[in-house]
């Protein structure tokens, strides 16, 4: 087991009367890729959003590199919200890629990549541009640097979104159903980029519905149902020898839906 980077410790969260996360615990090691799978509404996206505090959580604690996310917990167990400055500083080192790409539509591809490094990090523009071009090269889109996001295909936008995240040199990347909005023929190009990040040893938490991809890219897969992680295992075990009934039913449904 590598040194832990993300420690999720009995995290609970409710939306009104609905408990979306029930005492979820999960540790992600440095350089590890953990995938969260499960039926819609099981809480996997909420859990991911809690990790960079786009969503608050009610109980338990999430910490990244030993620092609790979004809150400070006192010696007496009291919970105090961290100031905006600290939350933003934490997010600057945690990348997130969204289902809907969420590129900044008013900025060119290049400016999408340089905005945060320049304005948050204080990187000189020239340096930020050079780095952005190198990242665009890496995702195969350097010729699109001057374009606006609207001129790009979904797959291209998502690759830009990944490059935008990399521009901040994150220690962790959260990927939230990054291929769900894509046409089937564009899924591969995005997954290839994610695959190459994994090969480079990037720590990632991935929410996905692509089981084959989860199997290939993850070191461990967590199956969530009704706000809980009910099974957590290396992909070969989880997919090859599922123990939990709900997981077996879920995988059965998935296979039935994907048989051509």
């Amino acid at each position: 087991m590598p040194e832990p980077l993300v420690v999720i410790d009995r995290v609970g969260k409710s939306f009104g009367a609905t408990r979306v996360l029930k005492e979820v615990s999960l540790t992600v090691g440095k350089g590890e890729v953990v995938t969260l799978i499960g039926p819609s509404g099981c809480g996997k996206t909420t859990l991911l959003r809690c990790v960079n505090f786009l969503e608050t959580y009610d109980s338990g604690a999430i910490s990244i590199d030993g620092e609790t996310v979004g809150i400070r917990i006192g010696a007496d167990g009291s919970r105090k919200a961290r100031p905006d400055r600290e939350v933003a500083a934490m997010r600057a080192r945690v990348g997130m890629v969204f289902q809907g790409y969420n590129l900044f539509p008013h900025l060119t591809v290049l400016d999408n990549l340089t905005a945060a490094p320049v304005k948050v990090r204080g990187l000189p523009l020239k340096q930020a541009r050079e780095k952005a071009m190198a990242l665009l090269e890496r995702v195969g889109l350097s010729e699109k640097a001057a374009q606006y996001p609207a001129a790009l295909s979904g797959g291209q936008q998502q690759r830009v979104a990944i490059a935008r995240t990399l521009a901040m040199e994150p220690r962790l990347i959260l990927l939230d159903e990054v291929t769900s909005a894509l046409d089937p023929e564009l899924v591969g190009e995005v997954l290839d980029v994610v695959q190459s990040l994994a090969a480079d040893g990037m720590t990632m938490m991935i929410v996905t519905h692509e089981m084959q991809f989860a199997r290939e890219v993850s070191r461990r897969v967590a199956f969530m149902a009704a706000g809980e992680i009910v099974e957590l295992a290396p992909p070969a075990d989880l997919f090859g020898n599922p123990k939990n009934d709900r997981l077996r039913a879920f995988l059965g449904r998935y296979q039935a839906a994907h048989r051509i």
């Binding site: 960079n52 786009l54 905006d84 400055r85 933003a88 500083a89 997010r91 600057a92 080192r93 945690v94 990348g95 997130m96 969204f98 809907g100 969420n102 590129l103 900044f104 539509p105 008013h106 905005a115 945060a116 304005k119 948050v120 990090r121 606006y148 996001p149 609207a150 935008r164 995240t165 901040m168």
Partner: protein, 210 residues
């Protein structure tokens, strides 16, 4: 004579443009304040701003102009007619401008806030770097629409004795007796002021990326 009539009218149009410009400026500044108050301020203040928008949009501008200009002296305040007109119209149109800005800010998808925060922008920075530029594009058309409304409504200032394009037309009409051509000329004057604004709205809308 024709030339002097035209130049007199042009002088009136110039005054109208300056009045409209001042009102648009004042109402935009106040409107931005109203929009931000309604969106992000302490809840009781939000309610107050919403109430202000509701009340001022429910009163005819002519009533406000006459009412304020002629009753201010009773409160010991005497303002030159143009100053009074600009202030009253500025506050009146602030309610409309406020709605324009508020609508535009609200029309920027929630996901853009998420995206900005996820790359490390702080609240205010996120607002100014990510949200505001997109809102600005979204508000151009309704903003210019309201600006057109301001231009045309400056004609009401003649009702409290301010001299502008309509007043110039009225004087020419009374002196020459040529009412029909004179008021056609006045109408053409307003059209010439408004036409570029309307064209600008179309142009900006066509050339935005958001």
């Amino acid at each position: 004579m024709k030339l002097s009539v035209l130049s007199y009218m042009a002088w009136g149009a110039g005054v109208t443009v300056m009045l409209a410009f001042a009102v648009i400026l004042l109402s935009s500044v106040l409107g931005m304040g109203l929009a931000l108050t309604r969106l992000y301020a302490w809840p009781p203040l939000r309610l107050l701003a919403a109430g202000y928008a509701l009340v001022s949009r429910g009163i005819p501008l002519l009533v406000l102009l006459i009412g304020c200009y002629f009753s201010l002296p009773y409160l010991g305040i005497t303002l030159p007619v143009y100053a009074a007109a600009i202030v009253v119209m500025g506050f009146y149109f602030a309610a409309y401008m406020g709605e324009v800005f508020r609508g535009a800010i609200m029309a920027v998808p929630r996901t853009q806030w998420d995206a900005g925060r996820s790359v490390g922008f702080r609240g205010l920075q996120n607002f100014s770097v990510v949200i505001l530029p997109q809102a600005r594009r979204l508000c151009v058309a309704p903003f210019l629409n309201t600006a057109l409304s301001v231009v045309k409504n400056t004609s009401l200032i003649s009702a409290i004795g301010g001299w502008e394009l309509v007043s110039a037309g009225r004087e020419i009409g009374e002196r020459t007796g040529e009412l029909m051509p004179t008021y056609l000329g006045v109408a053409a004057g307003y059209y010439l002021i408004c036409f570029p604004l309307a064209r600008l709205a179309t142009f900006v809308e066509r050339n935005s990326h958001a």
